[in-house]
């Protein structure tokens, strides 16, 4: 197709709008509301052009290019018009930094770098400003109109990003990326005329409005109206580097914004200034918070009889060697974090085998059934295949603040007409798209899944909804089951998983099974591990003298051992007393490999910044300790890299030794009981809980806190932020309470920080009682 732009006749592909066609030819037409990931909007009116045969001045973004079209993009009239429209925009936007020619940088006395009197208070001014580009292109030097400051309050009470709508130009990108692209529809335009503002409807907070905090709105904002809390005053990024997120099994590609030796932010891949992306809150906002966490372990510490003190690395490793010499091999246990790189894991494996000479290797993640879960997960299809599914069934998946690309893929598929069925008690961002939700009664989860299988095998119907679902599964070509790791939080999760495996097999379905660990896949195929329960029992029974924790610390109180070596980037949780605290670098500071989802496609992560001089890489600690002990361990860098780069083996874990889950079946519920769903907190990194290290995550996904629907709270006269007592089977515990609209009424969620479920069975019917305001949590 030929069109003529500014007297140049060019060949373009069909189906393009004039703005894209011009851009392809290197002709820049100023625009603010148009965005490559969004449908044309035509709101800012800056891209108006002249098209022969068309009335008036159509906007390039909303005008389809047609054969023989003659377009002019930079006539005098158009430039005048754009300047006038831009002035109108700037009459509502503080513009000291845009049109003022005075240089005031010498007089900026505050870290804000921008004037308070000009109303730019909350603008990060980090060069990430498309408005500035447009002003420069149109060479605007002054604004003829009076300037209004809207005096809207600055919104800073939601986590992760602040909003100063005084800087907003109403391009609507955030609203559209939230609705069209992320399928969340949290943001909306509110009011009309000059009172128009943006935010969740009915002035709800973002948390209440089910915001996923994916940050797409912040990314696409062409001004400083939306800004990341933790990045805002860090200044403009100097470089961007590719990496992968280590916070769950999806290992999403990200790019880090780097300034100096600091990771100031993490962004989705693509144009760092405007790509909306598919990340979840953790990949988008939490990683830099973790790397830059001020309370990280910074130097080696040793506990002398008289108390803990900082020691040199040489001193620390000498003492460690001494200690290790006194312990017999079989009386040592090693816990390895599922978030480490393959290289770190390989080194730990070699260290355990050749230096500690112990077979007791495990990880906090190796809960009962995990092996079966991961084995099944190996068959996971690539995420993009979800769009071609004929039906999607999710079971025990909690997508809240988790698995962003997965929930997004589900929502997109469902929006395109793929039938979506959700099962389990979790209500998440996908629930709105579900054709049906099956919520099993407590303890009847197995019956639900068994029922599905029986109905499929016999054709006998017991439940209309399930029958409908099974019929689609039977009649269509590519059904997909998405099974969440929440299933392992059940007392009989491993059994249910077996049934599910049969169901998947018989229905010829595909699966997708994520887990919240960045490299568990790698751990289980590289390291010969035992189940956690098995090693835990040895520790409990006093058969272990020395605990060696590599980035892992699944203990809420000191176990009965003689010595604990704690080697991790963060201090141990619960102020656990350890003999050794050996600081290591973490993601962003190390180079290495992650196994990737399903063990296919290893992901390289590069060091983005240099770690502190006072921390030591895991491998180096092992290597130097081995040297000190004069053991012949193959721990050189080359040998470890070779080990880690070998193709991934099948999963290594002998589940025969699995001594049962240790969890009981729940009792039959009484009437008026609430269903308490306990959950191993999926928001972790190495030895730390993200909920405790990120202020934002502490707000959206707090630990040791009862999350319940406001409707239930009303009945109990509970207040958001109040406390309540949960009682079941003789156990009574008091917790703080937060309201969430993204969970189902009647269900209470609890993520115990210890990872231990205080109420045994799970889920469990409980009684709930509001505590008077004064009383503080007792536990």
């Amino acid at each position: 197709m030929k069109i003529t732009i500014d007297n140049r006749t060019v060949e373009i592909k069909e189906g393009k709008n004039v703005l894209d066609a011009a851009e392809e030819q290197g002709i820049y037409i100023p625009h603010l509301c148009a965005h490559p990931e969004l449908t044309p909007y035509g709101g800012c009116r800056l891209c108006c052009v002249e098209v022969e045969g068309m009335r008036g001045y159509p906007t390039a973004c909303t005008t389809q290019a047609t054969e023989g079209m003659i377009v002019r993009t930079h006539t005098k009239t158009l430039m005048e018009m754009r300047r006038e429209v831009l002035q109108l925009i700037l009459s509502e936007h503080p513009s000291g930094c845009l049109v003022c020619e005075e240089d005031c940088s010498d007089f900026m006395g505050t870290i804000r770098k921008v004037g308070t009197t000009t109303g730019c208070r909350w603008c990060p001014e980090d060069g990430d400003c498309e408005l500035k580009q447009v002003v420069e292109h149109l060479d605007l030097k002054e604004i003829e109109f009076p300037v209004w400051y809207r005096e809207l309050p600055i919104e800073k009470y939601d986590p992760f990003f602040d909003r100063d709508y005084n800087l907003c130009i109403y391009c609507g990108r955030c609203v559209r990326i939230c609705g069209q692209f992320r399928k969340s529809s949290v943001l909306a335009l509110k009011q009309r005329g000059r009172q128009t503002t943006i935010g969740p409807p009915f002035d709800q907070s973002h948390i209440d409005a089910d915001c996923e905090f994916c940050g797409a709105c912040v990314s696409v904002c062409p001004t400083g109206a939306m800004s990341e809390k933790q990045r805002k005053w860090s200044g403009a990024a100097q470089t961007y580097a590719r990496s992968h997120c280590p916070l769950c099994s999806l290992n999403c590609e990200i790019q880090a914004a780097i300034r100096g030796n600091t990771v100031v932010g993490t962004l989705p891949p693509g144009d760092p200034h405007r790509a909306g992306g598919e990340l979840c809150v953790k990949g988008r906002f939490v990683l830099p918070e973790l790397v830059n966490y001020p309370g990280r372990l910074t130097e080696p510490r040793f506990r002398f009889p008289e108390g803990e003190g900082i020691v040199s690395w040489d001193g620390a490793l000498e003492k460690l060697a001494e200690q290790l010499e006194t312990v017999k091999g079989g009386r040592t246990a090693l816990y390895i974090s599922p978030y480490l790189t393959l290289e770190e894991m390989a080194a730990a494996q070699v260290f355990a085998r050749d230096v500690l000479e112990t077979p007791h290797i495990t990880s906090s993640a190796l809960v009962p059934g995990m092996s079966a879960y991961l084995t099944m997960a190996r068959a996971s299809i690539p995420l993009k295949s979800l769009q071609n599914a004929s039906i999607i069934v999710s079971l025990f998946l909690d997508g809240n603040y988790n698995y962003g690309p997965l929930t997004l893929a589900i929502k997109r598929a469902a929006d395109n007409g793929v039938p979506y069925y959700q099962s389990g008690w979790c209500k998440d961002t996908t629930s709105r798209f579900a054709a049906r939700r099956f919520v099993p009664p407590p303890g009847k989860e197995k019956e639900l899944v068994d029922g599905m299988l029986t109905m499929f095998q016999t054709g006998k119907s017991e439940n209309e909804g399930i029958e409908e679902m099974l019929k689609i599964i039977q009649d269509t070509m590519s059904p997909v089951f998405i099974i969440g790791p929440g299933i392992l939080d059940l007392h009989n999760g491993a059994d249910i998983l077996k049934t599910l495996a049969v169901l998947v097999e018989e229905t010829g379905s595909e699966v997708f099974m994520p887990n919240p660990y960045g490299n568990l896949e790698g751990l289980m195929s590289l390291v010969e591990t035992k189940t956690r329960r098995e090693v835990d029992l040895l520790v409990e029974k006093g058969k272990i003298d020395l605990l060696y924790l590599v980035g892992d610390a699944p203990f809420s109180q000191r176990p009965p051992v003689k010595c604990i070596v704690h080697q991790a980037p963060f201090p141990p949780p619960y102020e656990l007393q350890t003999e050794f605290k050996l600081p290591t670098p973490m993601w962003g500071e190390v180079t290495g490999t992650l196994a990737g989802m399903g063990g296919r496609g290893k992901k390289k992560i590069k060091p983005l910044v240099k770690p502190r001089d006072t921390v030591l890489f895991n491998r180096e600690i092992f290597y130097r300790t081995a040297k000190a002990l004069k053991k012949d361990a193959k721990l050189s860098k080359k040998e470890i890299v070779a080990l880690a780069s070998a193709p991934l083996a099948p999963l290594i874990l002998d589940e025969k030794l699995n001594p049962g889950s240790g969890r009981k079946a729940p009792p039959t519920p009484k009437k008026s009981a609430y269903l308490l769903v306990q959950q191993v907190n999926p928001h972790r990194y190495q030895n730390t809980s993200i909920s405790s290290r990120s202020t934002g995550m502490a707000q959206v996904a707090p630990e040791d806190t009862l999350l319940l629907h406001p409707r239930d709270a009303g009945k109990l006269e509970l207040e958001n932020g109040g406390t309540a007592t949960v009682s079941a089977g003789g156990v009574k515990k008091t917790y703080p309470v937060r309201f969430r609209k993204n969970i189902a009424p009647g269900v209470i969620h609890l993520a115990p920080s210890s990872g231990e479920f205080p109420f045994g069975a799970n889920p469990i019917p409980v009684q709930l009682k509001a505590e008077p305001k004064e009383s503080a949590p007792k536990n």
Binding site: T62, M81, G193, R194
Partner: protein, 628 residues
């Protein structure tokens, strides 16, 4: 069709009996306009009187017949006498009229306006036909023919007056011929833009899409316009019949009536009417055995002016925020849920049955070449006879304002047509014929039919400010020029009204107006500057007086005027003292009062009461600041 034929037969019989009754029949106009004028109290008085005198009479509530200045209107028909209409009836008069007509058997001449229907066998002294009233004489009633005449909640009344006969006829033709007839009649969209209705239908007809929609746009939002409301309240079936015909013609299966929630009575009556249609097989599956199926839903809008714009309206029905999008694609090709959608105004649809019933030739007898047919207007403002009128197109503004409306009290200044998107037309253009093209040439638009008449007491700057402020508040906020530009225009106009403007303000207004007109996204923004542009074009002198002399010739702009009491004329009656909200006027009884300009908020209350109260002496004056 048998069931309906029977119903029609029965309806005609009922209608006959109603007009040759054996008991008296009382009609009361209880459309919103009547209710606002006090029809509810009148109704209570009627019921009370009937009860008191143990009288039996049929009581029928009808819609609005047009002359607002005569509301509440009440008709009484006693056996053997014609249906006589009484105007400006209050509860006291209602009692007297009932007693006079039903007890004494006479005509209460003081309030009688004329008779409706057939002339009486013997002439009644002083009672002329109702439609000979000066306001009604020059009107042509096509769309409003049933309004105020029939019971809008009784399908039988509508059927008895050839209701649904147009639809009957349409069903006997192929859809293409229906469209041809509408095209031949030269019917143009009555929502304001005047797009040929037949052509629009043709586009949707030709689309191969399986699903199509008909939407009736009843989101009447112009200040001072109430044509659609009156029509829907007085004769909902007329519009519904038009919708059925339109649906049949374009092959639509679903219909929506997008109506403002602020029209509760119209919503209620539409609901009743739709129920009646469903009951009688005129709506639903396989209508009248023709194989044509159609259903109608009412969608209440939350009252955003911009939702009168087609694409915003579509978004609103879809449950989205009412914001426009760029056209093309036009709704006739891709509208509601991406399907071909015909959006017609209430009046357009209500006209269609008449075209089908009487043929395009009959319809073309009204109006002028290119602008055939009639148009309803709501005549409001500083005019003697306000109300809802219907006139043939091509009639001059002068005829409307002076012959039908009875002219103005003070010298006529301008008439605003087309609401906030329209413009002000001055006295020397009064002979402009009312056609789409000539109004556009005068800088205004036909619009949906609001005519706001202004006299010398109206300040054009203030009027322009008012309309711009309205637009600015109703802007959806999507596009920059409309959201921000109109606000700048309002600020400039407010400045001028406050005496802060200078001559450069006028230039700024004009340049802003140009930008807004050429860069706005939808019709709302593109036409928003019209009130300013037309007033600047025809009344530039008044603007200049405002900015240069700080003088408001109409004595409206508060910052430019002062109130004072003429001591020689003041009777000291204290009426103004009592009414003043800020105690700015003081003085003992029977002595000239004092007005403290410091306290005065220029609310005009004292001025009005001094002019019109019998014992006051018309002693309060408004002067410009210069004079003061």
């Amino acid at each position: 069709m048998n069931k309906l034929d029977e119903l029609i037969k029965e309806s005609k019989l009922r209608w006959e009996t109603l007009h040759n009754p054996d008991t008296p029949v009382i009609y009361l106009g209880t459309a919103s306009c009547g209710l606002a004028a006090g029809a509810k109290e009148v109704k209570a008085a009627i019921e009370e009187t009937l009860e008191e005198h143990k009288l039996t009479a049929r009581f029928i509530e009808v819609g609005c017949i047009g002359p607002c200045y005569l509301e509440p209107l009440m008709d009484v028909m006693v056996p053997g006498k014609p249906r006589i209409s009484y105007g400006n009836v209050d509860p006291r008069w209602a009692r007297r009229i009932i007693e006079g007509c039903l007890v004494k058997g006479e005509v209460v001449k003081n309030k009688a306006l004329g008779y409706l229907g057939e002339p009486p066998a013997e002439e009644i002294d002083g009672i002329a036909p109702f439609f000979d009233l000066p306001m009604l004489k020059n009107q042509t009633r096509v769309v409003l023919k049933n309004c105020g005449f029939i019971d809008p909640e009784d399908l039988g009344h509508y059927l008895a007056l050839d209701g649904y006969m147009g639809f009957y006829k349409a069903l006997e033709m192929p859809p293409e011929e229906v469209i041809q007839q509408v095209s031949d009649a030269g019917l143009r969209g009555r929502g304001g833009a005047g797009f040929p209705t037949g052509f629009k239908w043709q586009v949707a007809r030709e689309s191969r899409a399986g699903e199509k929609y008909i939407v009736c746009n009843a989101d009447e939002g112009d200040p001072g316009a109430f044509m659609n409301r009156s029509l829907l309240e007085g004769d909902p079936h007329a519009m519904l019949e038009g919708m059925l015909i339109a649906a049949y013609a374009v092959g639509a299966q679903h219909g929506y009536i997008y109506i403002r929630a602020e029209y509760p009575l119209a919503v209620k009556r539409l609901g009743i009417a739709i129920g009646q249609l469903k009951e009688n097989g005129l709506l639903g599956e396989n209508i009248l055995g023709s194989g044509f199926s159609f259903d109608i839903k009412i969608k209440e809008g939350a009252g955003a002016f911009v939702c009168g714009e087609e694409t915003s309206l579509i978004h609103s029905i879809e449950g989205k925020r009412g914001m426009p999008r760029t056209k093309p694609p036009f709704p006739a090709g891709s509208g509601l849920h991406g399907k071909p959608t015909i959006i017609n105004n209430v009046e357009t649809l209500a006209t269609v049955p008449q075209v089908l019933l009487n043929g395009p030739g009959w319809y073309r007898q009204f109006g002028v070449e290119g602008n055939f047919g009639t148009k309803t207007f709501s005549l409001v403002g500083k005019i003697r006879r306000t109300g809802l009128i219907e006139v043939p197109l091509g009639i001059s503004l002068r005829e409307i304002i002076f012959d039908i409306g009875g002219g103005t009290q003070k010298p006529f200044k301008a008439v605003q047509t087309g609401g906030p998107s329209g413009g002000c037309i001055p006295a020397d253009l009064l002979d402009t014929p009312v056609t789409y093209e000539s109004l556009a040439a005068a800088g205004s638009i036909m619009g949906s039919g609001g005519l706001i008449v202004m006299d010398d007491d109206t300040c054009v700057v203030d009027v322009a400010r008012y309309f711009l402020d309205f637009i600015q508040k109703e802007s959806c906020g999507k596009c920059t020029p409309c959201r921000v530009g109109t606000r700048h225009m309002v600020e400039l106009l407010e400045g001028i009204c406050k005496g802060n403007g200078d001559i450069s303000s006028l230039g700024k207004l004009e340049s802003l107006a140009k930008t807004i007109k050429s860069t706005s996204l939808c019709g709302l923004g593109q036409t928003a500057p019209n009130p300013v542009l037309t007033t600047l074009r025809y009344f530039r002198g008044e603007y200049v007086e405002h900015v240069n002399q700080k003088y408001c010739p109409a004595l409206v702009c508060r910052s430019l005027i002062e109130y004072y009491v003429e001591p020689g004329k003041c009777t000291g009656c204290q009426r103004c003292v009592n009414i003043c909200p800020t105690q700015a006027i003081s003085g003992p009884r029977s002595e000239p009062h004092n007005l403290d300009p410091e306290k005065c908020v220029k609310c005009r209350a004292c001025y009005e009461i001094c002019r019109f109260d019998a014992i006051a002496g018309n002693a309060i004056y408004i002067k410009s600041r210069e004079e003061a």
